[in-house]
């Protein structure tokens, strides 16, 4: 689990100007800037909070990541099927 990489991703998507917009158009390129495993990159692209939590991501950082990716706090663990 790339705990540091996922936390950095969450903070930088929130705070680095333009990065969130860049992620919208080129998610693979943005995720490639961070030291993440392929499974972790896939989980972020799926916005799969349950997977990331189970893998060990801190829930506070995970909340930030999900919200910045457009998933409301109360919707983090709702099914993403059809999303």
């Amino acid at each position: 689990m790339s705990i540091v990489g996922l936390n950095r991703l969450a903070r930088e998507l929130e705070h680095t100007p333009g990065l969130r917009e860049r992620y919208e158009s080129e998610p693979g390129e943005v995720l490639g800037r961070f030291p993440l495993d392929p499974e972790e990159r896939d989980a972020v692209r799926r916005r799969d909070a349950a997977w990331l939590l189970a893998a060990g991501m801190n829930p506070v950082a995970l909340r930030n990541l999900m919200v910045v990716l457009g998933v409301a706090h109360q919707d983090m663990y709702r099914s993403r099927e059809g999303d």
């Binding site: 950095r8 929130e14 801190n58 506070v60 950082a61 909340r63 706090h73 983090m76």
Partner: protein, 281 residues
Amino acid sequence: MGRLVLAAATSHVGAIVRNPGADPARSDVLHRAWETLDAELAALKPDAVVLVATDHYETFGLENYPTFCLGMADVHEAWGEFGNPGGTVPGRPELAKELLHGLHRRGFDLARSHTMALDHSFMVPLAKLPAAASAGVVPLFVNCNTPPLPTLARCAELGRALADTIAELPGGARVAVIGTGGLSHWVGLPRFGDINEAFDRKVLDLLERGRLPEVLAWSDERIESEAGNGALELRTWVIAAAAAGGRCRTLAYQPMYPWTVGIGIAAFDVVRPDAGLGVVL
């Protein structure tokens, strides 16, 4: 000699200011309590407020994560993250320097930041307590979410050391200490939105009866299991309670489901330990 003029604690969830009118039968009680506390603070004319709060991975990341960190900026900027209050807050760097050295002499070699930006754990209470913001703030960060956390007992020791340091401040400085966080809530977890009212009322009851040592004996595992990871922010309450040394006066408590947090607002009777009236810890 300086003086600790007030010690208090409050919850800090952003919904307090983003959705203030939710469930008016409950939220009105809380808003009145903040107004009461703010008026009490204003009447005491503090020179500064030590605001004991945390951070939600806005300011600190895992590249460098302190346990305790004192903010020493002339002006502290706020993140304004996710719609929370932004702007700036006047710091008190000279007083912060005195606190840093005084705490160091007492065995607390805190980290310090000359630029520490503030998230909602500082900014929401300041929005509800404008007298604190206008007095000037020394922010004291406490790690409440990245294990291993400082133990509750260690936080109580810090609170007492903080009170002793304030008592020795030069120039008769008048200082308030306000902790922010809790009570029960779950952040980023499937149980988000739940509240454990029984847990919250037990905490308040113990503090009201001067039984802080019983709270200090609780493990983080117990607190997190019963009241959520957000309840680990009780550390900030412990620091304020121990600094005061006296009993808690609960100004208001409401299980605020629309805000997803058990909201507590309290003041602590300031009793100098050397006066023989304080709670034995």
